[in-house]
Symmetry: C2
Subunit: 234 residues, 2 copies
């Protein structure tokens, strides 16, 4: 017979069923995401894992969007902020931090999609913002530009990761991306001369390279671009 006794288990074998607290809920959500993807991190699935009903979760989490934001903040603990206090070119160090941020998102691109809509506001996100602002300040970027610039950098990084989420997955959504590839290959040089001329180059390059380039474009452009005169500030 199998050495594995068929004794009934209380449920699954998560890191021991956490108490029903916000932290326990988020930790379980992260575990499910690692095992089964963000798509499976639903209120119902989560409740099942915690041996309760979905309604119980609403005591600790306002809605699914807030849950996803909490998951992201948790993962953001893995971002390497050390370049903020290291010697060297400030632009390189800025890009290094942002690359570390993006690495997290590239591993969970569907989370990047959520992040665009519900930004996290947890500890780790604040630390990230602070580190980026310190480097912009060190680089002599005026406060006005830095305040908007840090948002632009993160938004660009996040949306690049979100966009990649489609391309990555096997087969399925691949089709949508191939659609543009195909159309671009067959475009008429008469009606769309620039598109025909550039061709494949429009879609060339690995995501990471395009991301790095885009971030440097933003960094290079920032000091040369004053903020608009404050006609209104709603």
């Amino acid at each position: 017979m199998s050495p594995q006794p068929a004794a009934p288990r209380s449920r699954r074998e998560r890191p021991a069923k956490p108490a029903l607290t916000r932290d326990g809920i988020v930790a379980t959500a992260v575990a499910i995401m690692r095992d089964e993807g963000l798509k499976r991190v639903t209120m119902r699935r989560l409740a099942q894992e915690l041996d309760t009903g979905p309604a119980s979760l609403y005591v600790y989490v306002r809605n699914t969007a807030e849950l996803h934001a909490a998951i992201l903040d948790e993962l953001l603990g893995a971002v390497d902020l050390s370049p903020a206090t290291t010697p060297g070119d400030w632009q390189d160090r800025l890009v290094r931090i942002l690359s570390s941020y993006t690495a997290v998102l590239f591993e969970h691109p569907s989370l990047a999609r959520s992040a665009l809509v519900a930004m996290p506001s947890g500890e780790h996100y604040l630390d990230l913002l602070e580190a980026l602002l310190a480097l912009l300040s060190e680089g002599g970027i005026p406060d006005a530009q830095a305040a908007w610039g840090v948002d632009a950098l993160l938004q660009y990084a996040t949306s690049t990761a979100a966009e990649q989420s489609t391309r990555d997955r096997d087969g399925d959504a691949q089709g949508d991306w191939d659609a543009l590839t195909t159309v671009l290959r067959d475009v008429s040089a008469t009606t769309h001369p620039r598109l025909a001329a550039l061709g494949d180059d429009l879609l060339s390059g690995p995501g990471q390279a395009r991301l790095g380039w885009g971030l440097r474009v933003l960094i290079n452009g920032m000091p040369h671009t004053p903020r608009p005169s404050t006609t209104d500030t709603p």
Copy 2:
């Protein structure tokens, strides 16, 4: 009695029930979105409107993502591309076209979210790309930068609209945005000095102003930022 006879209607009063073709399906989808929002544009709802079952739609549309992309391309017909062939500063004209693009997305921010994941590949999108590339070329941006730059510009515009989708809606997701506002107000000047110093300015300004600024940052940075040496080009 009411002058309105209570005679039974075949269904609703859409622009006359279109034939079951791809174009008819997309047209109906656009109508539902205008009336009830993108959230309601589901395969089932759409099928109901067309007096059929959801399975029938899969003959014409691969999946929901492709449907959303088709809707966006339809709306992109409203983008004003005329600045591409008008005299004046090329940067201003570039921003004008992108503002027109974003205006469409700001009216349907949930569509912007879809667009990040499944870019449209229809007629109108191609025309938009061509117009933007023509202006970048006119501005003397080298082809290599223009090819990646047009994508960066559109991605930045799209993600800005997507991000705004949360802030706009009444009440509901407002909470998520207020979360960051609140946290930022209470941040400690000891642990996060830059955040404390910049304070509200991090979140200040209307979306349109921030968007315009970000686009100009990209445009200004582009000519100063060569593409990385092509070590590998997967």
